[in-house]
């Protein structure tokens, strides 16, 4: 081929341009730390990056929710533990009042103590977490129980609403406890024990013991369920943290440059 001076000049300029373009791309990569700046540079990586980032964001979202859920469940656990302590003491007092050796004065004293324990028990039922009643179902702003005139009033007809939190895609956990189902029998059993003691009536006391035992069993079951949920959340959290790490690594593999490689190029 016949070569002219203009051809030489143009080809040289063209090659310089091509090299400069490569240099610019590599310098941008080093400066930003990212393999690609626009989707056109590598559509596959760009799309994978977008999906990964969303998955990561969702994961963070579940992690954040799980913190809220765990707080709520831990608050439940605190209130339930207090109730268990109080109920155990009440049960002890009832058993103390049962033998025939006990006289009217002793039973009166025991009954008064039960009466005194009923008040904190109702207060435990009205426990608030961040200004919201734990055992009121969805009516978190309404105090569920009132203790007045020696009786306990249920302010809410039903507290059966289940507060469900997402802890993973398509997976929910119930964080609250049905207050009425748990506490209405407990309160009435405690009131039965109290009244029998105050009335110095061992036979009635004997009868009142069965509902109390049943209420204690329900309480223990509820506590176990709640504990299992806390455990569930914590395992879930560990898993989410691991997935988070894996996702971040994957995203970095896809999008980040190897500085050594870019420099060598």
């Amino acid at each position: 081929m016949r070569i002219t001076n203009r051809m030489m000049t143009e080809q040289n300029i063209q090659h310089m341009q091509a090299n400069l373009a490569v240099l610019t791309r590599l310098q941008t990569q080093v400066a930003t730390g990212k393999k690609i700046q626009t989707a056109a540079e590598d559509p596959t990586v760009a799309v994978a990056g977008l999906s990964l980032r969303t998955t990561l964001e969702q994961n963070e979202m579940y992690l954040n929710t799980s913190v809220v859920s765990r707080d709520w469940l831990t608050a439940n656990e605190g209130a339930l533990k207090q109730m268990t302590d109080l109920t155990t003491r009440i049960n002890d007092l009832a058993l103390q009042g049962l033998p025939d050796t006990q006289g009217a004065d002793e039973r009166l004293a025991l009954g008064t103590e039960v009466e005194g324990l009923l008040r904190p028990l109702v207060q435990a039922g009205n426990t608030q977490h961040q200004g919201k009643y734990l055992f009121a179902g969805f009516k978190v702003n309404t105090q569920p129980y009132t203790y007045a005139g020696a009786t306990v009033t249920n302010n809410l007809a039903s507290t059966a609403d289940a507060m469900q939190h997402n802890i993973a895609p398509g997976q929910t956990i119930t964080v609250n406890v049905d207050g009425n189902a748990l506490l209405t029998p407990l309160f009435s059993a405690v009131i039965g024990v109290r009244d029998a003691l105050l009335a110095n009536d061992p036979a009635a006391l004997q009868t009142a013991l069965a509902p109390l035992t049943a209420a204690v069993t329900t309480l223990n079951n509820t506590r176990t369920t709640n504990g299992a949920r806390i455990l569930n959340i914590e395992t879930q959290n560990d898993r989410l943290e691991q997935i988070n790490l894996a996702l971040k690594k994957l995203l970095s593999d896809k999008e980040d440059i190897s500085l050594a490689e870019a420099s060598a190029n």
């Binding site: 081929m1 016949r2 070569i3 002219t4 001076n5 203009r6 051809m7 143009e10 080809q11 063209q14 990212k34 690609i36 700046q37 626009t38 989707a39 056109a40 540079e41 590598d42 559509p43 596959t44 760009a46 799309v47 990056g49 977008l50 999906s51 980032r53 969303t54 964001e57 969702q58 963070e60 979202m61 579940y62 954040n64 929710t65 809220v68 859920s69 961040q130 919201k132 009121a136 179902g137 969805f138 009516k139 978190v140 702003n141 609403d161 507060m163 469900q164 939190h165 997402n166 895609p169 398509g170 929910t172 609250n176």
Partner: protein, 418 residues
């Protein structure tokens, strides 16, 4: 080959010009123009696609997807503590940011489309100017050639203009026996002899876009290649596809969120309220119900029943929309739909980039071939100059010798009687 006739009546000046010949092969011209036209078509497409990508900014932190993710997270967080007004305010901010991001993209795409329209109008104007230029040159060239001269400068100028026409719209030239060049674009004549058939630009109401180009024969103009082809493709296909996609995305998002939101109850038991208003990406707004300062936050429905401040189930359902297959006939989530669109745009950009480079290389090679035939090499010229000089010197030597001979014959011989 175009030659100038030997100039007679100029004997005695020492040199006789036989002819000045212009080197160019029509074959190379045609191929070169076709390839530059392709290269510039893809280069134009690449430039526009780059702008679209920059507008959507999807791979950066300012993308639409992070905003959408934040929106879903807002609902999910609210579902875990629905009576918390701080979380409601946070959700409202995230929703406003999302609507704003969608609006900005819609406006930017619209502006971009108008920019292409302006660029198209400018190109058409340039084509018309060049067509008139070629027509004038045709007339001049035909006149000069008819008297047997070679209008080499005019021919060079005409070739330059047709090269530019090829770059702009893929024009092809055919030399007629009388020296005139017939220029056509996609089968439609642009210049015949000394008559330019200029393109007409009118406003096209059916295309929601002003510039519609018609050939002189009232047929719609379609550039087969060249910058115009790239620009028209961007204006009428690439950008509208992105706009439609964004509109579909926004409409699906709004209708689905609204449908759920209207069944729910706010903290103040307000129900049946829309969360978003608008019909497409451009008109998408967070509803006044939500933004009104007095009770906007209370109006956000998170509960499935009235009087249930602790109920976050509706917020949870809305947050779960992120995994619902709402688009493409129930096969794609909002996220998948939009990601696919970004991917398609990226692929198109990559294709344009590669094609522009490849076609450019071919055009370059052809240009080199053309240059190889018609170009001037300084070394070659210098060598030929030396050659000519030597020949001249040889001729001079011959002259001197002959002069000497004559001198001897005339002055040295037959000197009888001296």
């Amino acid at each position: 080959m175009l030659t100038a006739a030997p100039v007679y009546g100029q004997m005695g000046t020492g040199v006789m010009v036989d002819r000045i010949q212009r080197f160019n092969l029509e074959f190379f011209d045609g191929r070169y123009r076709r390839e530059t036209a392709d290269a510039s078509r893809w280069a134009a497409a690449r430039d526009v696609l780059k702008q679209v990508e920059a507008t959507l900014a999807e791979t950066g932190t300012d993308g639409l997807m992070p905003k959408l993710d934040a929106f879903w997270t807002g609902w999910q967080t609210l579902s875990s503590d629905p009576s918390n007004t701080a979380l409601r305010a946070d959700l409202r901010e995230r929703s406003l940011a999302l609507a704003d991001a969608v609006n900005r993209r819609a406006v930017a795409l619209n502006t971009l489309r108008q920019d292409q329209d302006l660029a198209i109008r400018q190109r058409v104007e340039e084509i018309n100017t060049l067509a008139s230029g070629v027509a004038r040159l045709n007339a001049e060239i035909a006149r000069v050639q008819s008297v047997g001269d070679a209008p080499n400068d005019l021919l060079d100028e005409r070739d330059r203009q047709v090269d530019r026409l090829a770059e702009l719209a893929g024009a092809q030239g055919h030399v007629q026996p009388n020296g005139e060049l017939l220029v056509s674009i996609g089968g439609h004549a642009l210049v015949v002899g000394s008559t330019p058939f200029t393109l007409a630009v009118t406003s096209d109401l059916s295309n929601s876009n002003p510039a519609r180009i018609d050939c002189n024969d009232a047929q719609p103009f379609a550039a087969p290649r060249g910058e115009l082809a790239g620009l028209l493709d961007a204006r009428d296909r690439v950008i509208p596809a992105q706009q439609t996609g964004l509109d579909t995305f926004a409409a699906a998002l709004m209708s689905n969120v609204n449908a759920l939101h209207q069944t729910g109850y706010g903290l103040n038991n307000a129900t049946g309220l829309a969360f978003f208003t608008g019909t497409d990406a451009m008109s998408m707004r967070v509803s006044d119900n939500i933004t009104v300062p007095a009770n906007g936050l209370q109006n956000i429905a998170a509960a499935t029943a009235a009087g249930s401040p602790g109920d976050g189930n509706l917020a949870r359902q809305i947050s779960d929309l992120q995994r619902s297959l709402l688009l493409t006939g129930g096969t794609a989530t909002l996220h998948q739909f939009y990601t696919a669109q970004v991917g398609a745009l990226g692929l198109e950009g990559k294709q344009a980039e590669n094609s522009a480079r490849d076609r450019g290389l071919v055009a370059e090679a052809l240009s080199n071939q053309r240059e190889s035939f018609g170009g001037v090499s300084l070394d070659e010229e210098a060598a030929q100059l030396v050659q000519s000089q030597r020949a001249y010197q040889a001729a001079m030597r011959l002259m001197t010798t002959v002069d000497d001979m004559l001198d001897r014959v005339i002055n040295g011989m037959g000197r009888v009687g001296l």
